[in-house]
Amino acid sequence: MVEFGQFSLCIAWLLALAVVIGGGVVGSGARTTPARLESLRRGTILVALTLGTSLIALGYLFVTNDYTVQYVWQYSNRDMPWIYKITAIWGGMDGSMLLWCFLVAAFSACVALRSRVYPRAIVAWLFSFLSSSTLFFTTITLFLTNPFRYLKSPVVMPDGNGLNPLLQNEYMAIHPPMLYLGFTGLAVPYAFCMAALASGQMSNDWIRLTRRWTLIGWTFLTAGIVLGGHWAYLELGWGGFWAWDPVENASFLPWLSATAFLHSVMVQERKGMLKVWNIFLIVLTYALTVFGTFLTRSGIVQSVHAFASTDIGWTFLVYLSTIIIVALGLSIYRRTELKPERAIESFFSREAVFLLNNLVLLSICFAVLWGVMFPVFSEAVTGVKQTVGIPFFNAVNVPLFLALIFLMGVGPSIAWKRSSLPQLLRSFAVPFVSAFVVAVALVFAGVVEFYPVLAYSLSFFGLMTILGEVQRGLSAQKGITHAGTWSPANLTTLWRRQRVKYGAHVIHFGVLIMTVAITASMAHKIEREFTLAPGERFSVGRFSLELNEFHEEQLANYEAIQAHVTLRALTSETPLEVLVPEMRFYRKNKETTTEVALRMGQREDVYLVLAGVDETGTKASMKVFVNPFQVWLWYGAIIMVVGGIIVAIPVPRGAKVRDSVSDKVAQSV
């Protein structure tokens, strides 16, 4: 099986190389015959299949406990349940790179499967650039981080080393693959972009396809980032979900630039401008995914969960420079095709708002990148290494994010091309006044800090503009009886006619919910440490906690102490729930981990950590967090992902343009 896995990997590498070269040759030649394109198409699909068999071979080695293979020995042992043996495939660097290769290739194969209906001029180049991504990652996997290496040991090891206990968790099965799907998915719009530049064809079809594929990668990335936050929240025991750690930032950076692109591409679609800008955003997004991989695998910045330092960093830098140089060169070569067809006419237009949104997103992106790379920059420039932490990211990003929320409310309600001031006042009077009322109400209710009040009222502003949009959409429907009423039938019609538009509103609604949840958890979180003997109580927020008893357990590789703690509302004696936080002592490496006890609620989460038990075994020290509205963060994320899926569902070809209004227009002029 080792040979088979290794061999599949070799075939994949050769095929990818062949498609990169073949695609370039066919694309630049005059004769793009269907037969040649078909051959390239099949090659692209086959790369995914061979990488798939290679991945399966690695999985087989894990499941059959083949400890002659170094990687299998490092990351699994016989006692692990089979599911963790599977997830151990991406538990370390070598296997995660192989998974990465497979996913890039799988996305390329999906593109290839649908490619018969794509603009023919760019298809050959498309295959070439898709495979160039696969080729790069496969090169690293095959030559630098090969997971099929044999263990250098004179005897066969009887048992493996085992997976880090923190990674033996069901989120390990879903979070990394989801994140990788997001990262690798964004290689597709990059390939589309480069193919368009290479072939000189940047048609409307191209825009639609690129946007769809960006949206798919974006949706996966959104899900992956939030799942990572959820995992950290449940597993790491510090009561939070996001710490601006370099690894988290690495996943956030391409998300920001991809989000910017999804907005600015709409301007290109309608106005034929911002072409260079959009190319810049796509290439930046892809470069940031590569940079993220570089960041986590090179050990260049200190991180809580960076992979061990390796010497593959330079390959990423070489690849990054290649991407940038090629993109730059092609853009200069195609500069006449990239000239904007018109300019933005007015500050009060949706184009201008979208551009502003792009600039805010890029400012956040730049600030985060600056924060991540600051240790490196400061050492290079001043010779003294300095770093920035959570306070930096909050200080810069909170105002920028609030600006973004504001623009999110404004954007959809402002007309394309130009709006006049009275018109704007009319559109925004109700949302603005109601947001102001909310702000005043909050201040009277005792929320007096500036940013939380602003965040809540801006979220409300956003909500009102979305509702206003739906209302106006309902009133504007022609040929419907009782236009303007919120009847299910009217809403369905509206939905069917403008699914993409209202899908975007759904995403925005999810963002608003997340904003409220994040603000609440930043501004009103309660955090207390306390010690209790059995029978004693501690009050926190609107709850009381009573320690009942301890419970000890001996398991195969660790012993555990659990504290049984009764949670009550302060006003009542009825127990709400018995929380059971746990401490584990792993015998093998003398490490302790904590298992959080969590009561999720609509109003707040109660999050309890057992910190220690004194020598006599009679008192427990604990830390409790009361996180208001925490659960809404996850709901908001789910809403965003659902919105992403709604928008990404393909529209029947041609249906969009050819619908009633434009046909009538075409006949009338």
Binding site: N164, V304, L355, V388, P391, E529, T531, E591, G612, K623
Partner: protein, 145 residues
């Protein structure tokens, strides 16, 4: 390029730059290794530092009346000297002697007062490969049959 486009871009470069500059000035901290802390902190206190080091015994953890974790760190790559650390708070997961940690805090009177303590994991969990040269004496080593 339209005037609107250019003016918006310029405004944003200025605003973004100012925000980043101000936040950097007010929040950045020095990155030091334990031996550099000893060297630079011999004559004065060091405010706002980040230290990456390897935990060495003795580790003391008291939970009453307050959670206080005290331990020492040394250079992960080897080197002279250990620096005592005091952290008032919950002992992080996977904290143990031989682990690498990131400490944010101040160096006052010969002790690092940690405001934040993070154990470097979980992905950084690379076991020693048999046959490879052992890097450090105190790394957990695997039994060789």
């Amino acid at each position: 390029m339209g005037k609107v486009f250019i003016s918006l871009v310029v405004v944003f470069i200025v605003i973004g730059g100012a925000l980043v500059y101000r936040a950097t000035q007010s929040t950045s901290s020095l990155v030091l290794s334990p031996s550099e802390v000893l060297e630079k902190g011999s004559s004065r206190d060091l405010k706002r530092i980040r230290v990456g080091g390897r935990v060495v015994d003795p580790i003391q953890y008291q939970t009453e009346p307050q959670m206080i974790l005290s331990f020492s760190v040394k250079n992960p790559a080897g080197g002279e000297g250990v620096v005592p650390v005091v952290y008032r708070g919950l002992k992080p997961d996977m904290f143990a002697a031989g682990r690498d940690v990131l400490i944010d805090g101040d160096y006052l009177g010969g002790t690092i007062q940690a405001a934040k303590l993070q154990t470097q994991c979980p992905s950084k969990y690379e076991p020693v490969v048999p046959g490879a040269a052992p890097a450090e004496g105190d790394k957990p080593t695997m039994a060789m049959n």
